[in-house]
Amino acid sequence: MLDPVLIVNAIVSGLLLGCLYAIASMGLAVSFGMLDVVNIAHPAMMVLASFVIAGLCSQSGLDPLLTALLVAPAFGFLGVGLYRVYHHFFEQSGDEAMQGLAFFFGLMILIEVSLVLIYGADQRWVETSYGGHTLSLGPVDLPLRMLLPAMMSLACIGALFVWLRRSFTGRAVAAVAQDRDALRFLAINPIRIKAVAFGISVALAAIAAGCLIVVQPVDAHSGHVFIGRILAIVILAGLGSLPGTLVAALLFGVIENLAATLWGPAWSPAVAFGLLLAVLTVRPQGIFGGAHT
């Protein structure tokens, strides 16, 4: 019957996969959940960053995770600029609901088409020295190509949480999610805070890109695999709840992997999204979402 070792391994590798989902979702949890900016181009940005990281690594021989940390600030500044454009043309005039969505949809297509035109339709990947190695804890296997990105993901998410609670700007980001205009009463420009936060969300996409390219090869359309999942995770968590996003991502990874182990990989999205629907039926605000007013 069911082999317990198989189940434990499925859960552990599900947790590792969940860490990848977590870092990929965290940026969207900031932009969509906290800032109300529905950035559906987020996975496309992640793929773009993967291509950049792959290019830099093949030239310099640097580690992709390290390279991700190096390119993240550049993507952060790109995000700040992008938010300024979005704010100027859509948010400011109150057109963000549909036109803003179309803007990010267009951006997603633009990124994908550009990547195909420049790099072709082939997959890109990075050889790492640890790629083929596996750490074994008793019967549990921890492949380093999953473990190291997972650790990087958790470290960056931890840093984000600390920053949001301890720094002036971080607390202002937490506040902008709750009452944007009340920040003005404290001499804080909410648009500047949102720009910073959006920059951070794009920087997180770059970090996730480094993790992704270690885990698997990436092509121009790899974002499509992620867009449904990370939207589901952010909504499952409850919009704007970052700890909830982490938990929901881990849960999603474990359930996908368990379903794949028990019934075959074709079932895993069906089971995972079925769970999403079930949760939303019982708790429309998500697992960790407060009743938003």
């Binding site: 002036f168 202002a172 937490a174 009452d179 009340a182 009463f185 001499a187 420009n189």
Partner: protein
């Protein structure tokens, strides 16, 4: 030398086609509390918002004297006005409900000059409102209305205001809390030498601490009392508030 810390002159303001304020003039002498009186819908909040740049006046000026410097506030952005030291305790408090008491308070200290004084000012808040000190790690959304009003006033103090605007501090509070809140504003003014403009419906409570008062009726100043007594004796005030 006594001078006027805040001077509003001939102010017209409103929302879209609706004009709410008609030629309002008002002055707040330095170190005094001016009560802005009037029942609901007469323009008190609109005047507060116009002073703070949240509603753009169509005519008239708002000028402040801050640290010996005359500043024109008209047409400036809200965050810029607050950064100059004109701080509002907004109607409805506008706190960040999912943050703790302390996080809300510290957010008030965004101004450069306030950041240097955070620990001292936190101590001041907790001395003024011991309840907040006991509950500094509590989520603000889970607190009572009176406690939330303490956080709102505390958050404004953290910004180190020169001129404090308080919009309807008594709304939604139990009578005992109304009395306490108003008394605290009076005590803070005496302790910190604040200049205060307070919009308030609760006439009897407001004039207990006010040095002067103005009554706003249908968007115009209907009566200005130089002293608290003159307000109590005025027939307009009696007519509008006391029903006699």
């Amino acid at each position: 030398m006594a001078y006027d810390a805040l001077v509003v002159r001939d102010l017209d303001a409103g929302y879209g086609a609706v004009r709410v304020l008609h030629g309002v003039s008002l002055r707040v002498p330095e170190g005094q509390i001016v009560a802005l009186l009037g029942t609901n819908g007469n323009g008190k909040s609109t005047l507060m918002k116009a002073i703070l740049g949240l509603v753009k006046p169509t005519r008239g000026t708002v000028r402040a004297r801050l640290d010996g410097r005359e500043v024109d506030l008209t047409g400036r952005a809200t965050e810029e006005i607050v950064d100059l030291g004109v701080v509002l305790v907004p109607e409805g408090r506008r706190l960040f409900r999912d943050l703790t008491v302390e996080e809300n308070l510290v957010l008030g200290a965004w101004r450069a000059c306030a950041r240097r004084e955070i620990s001292g000012n936190l101590r001041l808040c907790f001395e003024t409102f011991p309840r907040l000190g006991e509950r500094r790690r509590q989520r603000v959304g889970s607190m009572s209305g009176g406690e939330q009003q303490m956080v709102a006033i505390g958050r404004a103090l953290m910004s180190m205001p020169r001129i404090l605007l308080v919009d309807e501090p008594s709304v939604g509070l139990a009578p005992i809390m109304v009395k306490q809140t108003i008394e605290t504003i009076g005590a803070l003014k005496a302790k910190l030498g604040l200049t205060v403009l307070m919009a308030e419906q609760n006439f009897t409570q407001a004039i207990r601490i006010a040095d002067r008062g103005s009554v706003l009726v249908h968007g115009s100043i209907a009566f200005e009392g130089e002293t608290a007594e003159s307000l109590g004796d005025n027939h307009l005030v009696r007519q509008f508030y006391l029903g006699t």
